[in-house]
Symmetry: C2
Subunit: 108 residues, 2 copies
């Protein structure tokens, strides 16, 4: 059976949703703070376009990363755990199999 | 003779360059202030992407508008005068013919 075919119980879906939403909230908060810092340090006209480039990259990145389809969720959590937007505690309650897969992805 | 074929004296070029640069500086300053205001009012995550959309539109707009080629400069100043980024005083010293063309464009 492939990672993409794992089944998710009702409880696991709840846990996954909450962890996913928390991660999204954290990362958006981080982006907001970075934007505020950049804007406080505005000096050159060029800084405005640097902010634009930053947001452009973040938007692309966030769009690709936060994909809540069960077929890819293991990969999503692997990345979020690696990047620190999700903690192991938040994933508790998922099956051992899923946790193992997710942790294995952290190494990649 | 077309507006595009007008010749620019050395003095006129100096005046045009200064007026053009002032306009650009003013508009960039306005954008910076708008960005700062938007960021101060950040509430929802969506506000971050609204800022991105705003900057995206401004970048496109500024790129198209600030075109310092003598063949199109009359049109550029017509628009900048209409939008208030250039004043009539700043254009003083350009030939009567150029001023007339520029003012005529303000109406469009």
């Amino acid at each position: 059976m492939s990672v993409r075919d794992l089944t998710w119980s009702k409880t696991e879906k709840k846990i996954a949703r909450a962890a996913f939403d928390n991660a999204y909230r954290r990362e958006m908060q981080e982006i907001k703070e970075k934007v505020q810092k950049k804007v406080q340090n505005f000096k050159e006209d060029q800084d405005v376009w640097e902010l634009y480039n930053y947001l452009s990259a973040r938007r692309k990145d966030m769009g690709g990363k936060y994909d809540y389809r069960y077929s890819v969720l293991i990969y999503v959590f692997g990345r979020l755990l690696r990047e620190g937007y999700v903690t192991e505690e938040e994933l508790q309650g998922l099956s051992e199999e899923k946790i193992t897969y997710i942790k294995r992805l952290v190494e990649f």
